[in-house]
């Protein structure tokens, strides 16, 4: 199915799309289309964020939307993340469906209080009487010396906070379908994108559709080892699988797509089959999503594991600026290959 398969080779993708008469769209445009359709279909939806209406348009993902929907529904805001998250929560509990957009995930610590203490707990604290249909889009940055404060991936923090959902789409198809599902979900959803995926193209249907929150997907079936790959790492995993194939190691790649709810079943099933687990993520190692996934497997599929689990992550350091250090900082397909080989 062209909407679940991830193509690394651009020509192969083009051919497939052409052959099947399908439309290709970039991740960026898939996000934009999702928002466009949501804004058009539902009056209560609005976007807010620093620069959503500007000439950059959040790396293009909201570009020009204000022209059709006006600056009240595609709303530039003051630089005041915590206050504005509160504003968005207020609008949400009063029946609106705000999508709050942050150009970098690094700015979320500014509004942690409204996310953790308010959005996440509101439904519970009110005994289920009031819900918070708020989507917070944020983008993981990388490269060009972005350094310590402009390249963090903090999704793992939110996994520890009950009441939030966490979505980490890796493909254009999922970006659109999950964003629509998130906005309609009725809960606070942390929608986490990776800047380096923005240019990737994939099949994206024109109509409105949803991808269910809480369902992972097998990106590549295999029998020898399971790689759970998050966000950008899905692409690295596919490259790694090609290399490993030549070494007769058959990799199964799982893209969890959402981290909360986590599709534990899918992961467990896979590990039961392969007996080996590597988790590849785009953030620092300690206390990351990989720890939780590994722990779930150690709890529930222990008897099937044939080897230690492994994590492929950034080292536990802030992001350095210098190109030589940046290079050393980021793991890639090769790192994954090495890691997988270590399990045999």
């Amino acid at each position: 199915m062209p909407w679940t398969k991830v193509y690394i080779d651009k020509n192969e993708l083009k051919d497939t799309l052409a052959r099947e008469g399908l439309r290709g769209l970039s991740y960026r445009d898939a996000l934009k289309e999702a928002q466009e359709q949501l804004l058009r279909d539902d009056e209560s939806v609005f976007l807010l964020g620093e620069g959503v209406d500007d000439s950059g348009g959040i790396f293009g993902s909201t570009l020009g939307l204000w022209k059709e929907f006006g600056k009240d529904r595609v709303m530039d805001i003051p630089i005041a993340e915590n206050g504005l998250t509160g504003v968005a929560i207020g609008a949400a509990i009063a029946g609106m469906k705000p999508v709050f957009i942050h150009m970098r995930m690094d700015f979320l610590p500014m509004c942690m209080d409204q996310i953790i203490n308010h959005a996440a707990k509101w439904h519970y604290m009110t005994g289920g009487r009031v819900n918070v249909p708020l989507v917070i889009r944020s983008i993981i940055g990388r490269g060009w010396g972005s350094a310590a404060q402009h390249s963090q991936a903090l999704h793992a923090l939110f996994m520890h906070i009950p009441g939030l959902k966490i979505v980490v789409p890796s493909t254009p198809y999922d970006a659109k379908g999950l964003l629509i599902a998130s906005v309609r979900d009725g809960n606070p959803v942390m929608f986490i994108e990776h800047r380096w995926v923005y240019d990737y193209i994939g099949y994206v249907p024109e109509e409105t559709y949803t991808v269910p929150i809480g369902k992972g997907i097998v990106r590549r079936p295999g029998k020898d080892v399971t790689i759970v790959a998050i966000s950008l790492m899905v692409y690295e995993a596919i490259k790694a699988a090609k290399t490993l194939e030549k070494m007769d190691i058959d990799v199964e790649i799982i893209d969890p797509r959402t981290l909360n709810p986590l599709d534990e079943e899918l992961i467990i099933e896979s590990v039961k089959k392969t007996g080996r687990l590597v988790i590849a993520d785009v953030s620092c190692k300690t206390g990351g999503a990989g720890a939780e996934i590994a722990c779930r497997v150690a709890e529930s599929a222990f008897d099937y594991l044939k080897a230690p689990v492994k994590r492929v992550n950034f080292p536990d350091t802030p992001t350095p600026c210098s190109p030589s250090l940046e290079d050393a900082y980021y793991p890639d397909a090769e790192t994954l290959v090495e890691s997988v080989k270590g399990l045999f």
Binding site: G86, G127, G128, R129
Partner: protein
Amino acid sequence: MTDDKGIIKEADPAVLHNLLRTMVLIRIFEEKIIEVYPMQDMKTPVHLYIGEEAVAAGVCAHLKKEDYVFTTHRSHGHCLAKGSDPEMLYAEFYGRISGCSKGKGGSMHPVDPENGILGTTAIVGGGIPIAVGTALASRMKKDGRISVTFFGDGASEEGTFHESLNFAALKQLPVVFICENNFSATTSPLSQRQPHENIAKKAGGYGIPGITVDGNNVLDVYDAAKAAVQRARQGKGPTLIECKTYRWKGHVGPDCDHEKGCRPMEDLNKWMKRCPVEMYKDLIINKGLITETDYMNLVKEIDAALDDSLKAAKQHPLPDTKELLKDVYYDKE
């Protein structure tokens, strides 16, 4: 003090009666908590409002049922003034399944959507931007509602206060900011936290009206709130009203913290002489609006009703442990 004769002449007598009724309701509601709290079965941290009743009463008198109100950890007065059912509140404080938040919230997190209370946060300053958000929703939906957020002097120190005022002023939203300046945050005096006592002065920086009133004079509060609510309804933007008042009890719990040496006893004595309920009662008796007997009857009536509420609340069941895992996520189905 404004010319209360003027207000008294202008205002509907029913409104004037209701101001008294609301204050008495809040006072007795909390006195009953003080009574039962030592039994140790109302297991929720109670932040009593006694001494500050005029603020909630004076402001909420202008609000419609559908207008939004955000309160704080010190929530009882605002909920009652906005029309919440005392039994449902008591039940919540007793952790009963029939409580407004099914016992999950307690005294710090009441909710009452039918009366415009969409939930309560006990994070200082946390509710201010949320009220700005409901005001934004009202503007977008053109539903004619206004939003009011009550918060303390302490909360005005949080960044959210600044961020909220800036945004509300920028968008000229229908929201009224009511700062209850009781000169303390827990036991910390205002003088250890702010360079001066005039919180309303901050409004100037945002180009919105900032008004200071005697928060123990319900007519002063009523008057200032009237103008602010009007402004909001007419789309003229937000107002900041600072109500100077005083908390009689400790920050949390039923005791008097002056006895523990937290605050000077002479302050308490001074402010008790300016009891908002007594002052107003005396005034309207003087003006011939009610008699001392009317007042005694009012007190009796409310006291009896609250006795019933409390008793009924206590008899409701505690939530089943199955409730523990419910309501974490909203489920459309």
